[in-house]
């Protein structure tokens, strides 16, 4: 496993979603890499994300061939546009299937799945 992949998941285990940031480009990137994909230079910093985002698109998985998920169907697999300007795949939880929609504001929450901490999202509470 690469150093940056390890770092990403270590941050996640400590309850932080951190993204790489290129100071020269003034851009966040996702997924983590050894070099900034825009300027191809090393020296990416890690910055904690706000955890705010919106649903870019989603699909409700009814049939899963992945053993970890076969008992969890139907579940929402979604692309989240983070406030930092990057897009990441994740799950939407605590959301009735008929309430999910594109552009739904969501916020970060951590769950444990098969012994691994994962960054997922839930609808922003309107209360």
């Amino acid at each position: 496993m690469t150093d940056y992949t390890k770092t990403y998941w270590q941050y996640i285990s400590s309850g932080k979603l951190c993204l790489q940031f290129c100071a020269a480009c003034q851009k966040y990137i996702f997924y983590p890499r050894g070099l900034c994909p825009h300027c191809l230079q090393p020296g990416l910093e890690w910055k904690e994300a706000t955890g705010q985002g919106v649903v870019h698109s989603y699909t409700i998985v009814h049939v899963s061939a992945l053993p970890d998920f076969q008992d969890d169907t139907p579940y929402i697999y979604a692309l989240i546009d983070l406030a930092e300007g990057v897009r990441m795949p994740s799950n939407l939880i605590d959301c009735p299937l008929d309430q999910v929609r594109i552009n739904l504001p969501v916020e970060l929450v951590f769950i444990e799945r098969k012994g691994k901490t994962l960054p997922v999202f839930k609808p922003v509470s309107t209360a």
């Binding site: 496993m1 992949t5 990403y8 996702f30 997924y31 983590p32 870019h56 698109s57 989603y58 699909t59 409700i60 998985v61 009814h62 049939v63 899963s64 061939a65 992945l66 053993p67 970890d68 998920f69 969890d72 139907p74 579940y75 697999y77 979604a78 692309l79 897009r87 990441m88 795949p89 994740s90 799950n91 929609r101 594109i102 799945r113 691994k116 994962l118 997922v120």
Partner: protein, 389 residues
């Protein structure tokens, strides 16, 4: 510079797709298809001096073109493997045309095929085998269902942006099935209706089972040569008028857009090379791993405006009898996806139509065909324009 119309497809060979390869390997299937194409061209095996292959279903890619050449006992002066996912087949035709046009080789055999193995396909290993490391590290933990969920995301976003309906998407599968009903080699030939498609199980909402390609086994071979008018061959020549490619992403999560695909640029480049426009095209053979793939292809190639694909397919007869015949063999949705040969079925069907050899499903106007190969999740695109004579 590549010259339009100077190269041609002189031979095709395709195995009838099957769910069970009957103990045969990718190499066995490829060899059977190669023999058919060589016979179709009126060639002898020794006439083949170029070889382009797509990867095997089995594990060992190592020196794959060399493995294929050894099995077929060929001694090519040029060979390579083309790996552009579903665009590999169309991409291999474009590359063969370039090599033949440049005089590097005379007759280039483009071979694709694969064996579907149920034991491997529906497992975690089967899924990770077609994922990048970035997808395994940062996507797999959330339960993506491979290509299904990728195209599900696209369909959902297209519906939200443009009001595309499930009924409109289903119509694509229905029209293609009408085509398949007169194709003796199709895997699925039972008539279906829009309600049938919508009543089939939701796999990844909003995509239903009958909107999703069925993997199978098979192989396909195409021989690209320089056009030599008057050469003895049993068929009308089919010329390669132009091609275009475009690439913007691997995973759909990191694509510039979910609903605008690189097909737009690929087709524009192909039209420019061939010096024709969308309105000149008589029939299309569009990569159809899912219904949404066809709808976005039609929009991005320019048969209708962006966002109006739903209305367009609703109002247009896409069957072999219609105004824009599309996937007249039934497409992969009705013929199955024989690994990398699934994409080649769009080439071989266009050739049959342009030759006037499509039998009961022969279209009336057959001067110019557009073929599109699509790989990944709208990731790799290769568009070909093929002409009659």
């Amino acid at each position: 510079m590549f010259q339009q119309g100077r190269t041609c497809i002189i031979g095709i060979g395709e195995l009838k797709p099957t769910l069970d390869a009957g103990g045969r390997s990718t190499l066995d299937l490829m060899a059977e298809a190669a023999a058919k194409a060589i016979q179709d061209a009126g060639f002898h095996k020794d006439d083949i001096d170029g070889l382009l292959v797509t990867p095997p279903s089995e594990d060992s890619y190592f020196l794959w073109p060399s493995q294929v050449a050894e099995y077929l006992q060929l001694s090519p002066i040029f060979m390579n493997m083309v790996e552009l996912g579903g665009a590999s087949a169309a991409g291999s035709i474009a590359r063969a045309a370039l090599m033949v046009d440049a005089g590097v080789c005379k007759n280039c055999l483009c071979l694709s095929g694969g064996v579907w193995d149920k034991q491997v396909f529906n497992t975690r290993e089967g899924k990770t085998a077609v994922m990048s490391q970035a997808e395994i590290d940062y996507d797999l933990p959330y339960g993506p269902m491979g290509f299904n969920s990728g195209y599900g995301l696209i369909a959902r976003r297209h519906m939200a942006e443009y009001g595309t309906t499930p009924e409109q998407l289903a119509k694509i599968a229905v029209d293609q099935r009408t085509n398949a009903m007169v194709n003796p080699d199709a895997l699925f030939k039972k008539s279906i209706t829009v309600p049938d498609v919508l009543a089939s199980p939701l796999i990844v909402d909003p995509l239903h089972l009958l909107e999703i390609v069925r993997p199978c086994s098979g192989a396909s071979a195409v021989i690209v040569s320089r056009l030599s008018p008057g050469a003895s061959n049993n068929h009308s020549p089919v010329t390669i008028q132009g091609f275009g490619e475009a690439y913007t992403h691997n995973s759909i999560a990191y694509a510039p857009s979910l609903t605008d695909s690189p097909i737009k640029l690929a087709s524009q480049r192909a039209f420019q090379m061939a010096e024709v426009e969308a309105k000149d095209i008589d029939l299309v053979s569009l990569y159809d791993c899912y219904t949404i793939t066809v709808l976005i292809s039609l929009e991005d190639i320019g048969f209708c405006r962006k966002g109006e694909g739903g209305k367009f397919v609703e109002d247009t007869d896409l069957t072999y009898k219609g105004s824009l015949p599309c996937n007249t063999h039934g497409g992969q949705l009705s013929c199955g996806q024989a690994a990398f040969a699934g994409g080649m079925s769009h080439v071989t069907e266009a050739v049959r139509q342009l030759r006037g050899e499509a039998g009961l499903r022969q279209v009336k106007n057959n001067d110019l065909a557009l073929v599109n190969g699509n790989g990944g999740v709208m990731s790799t695109q290769c568009c070909l324009i093929l002409g009659r004579g």
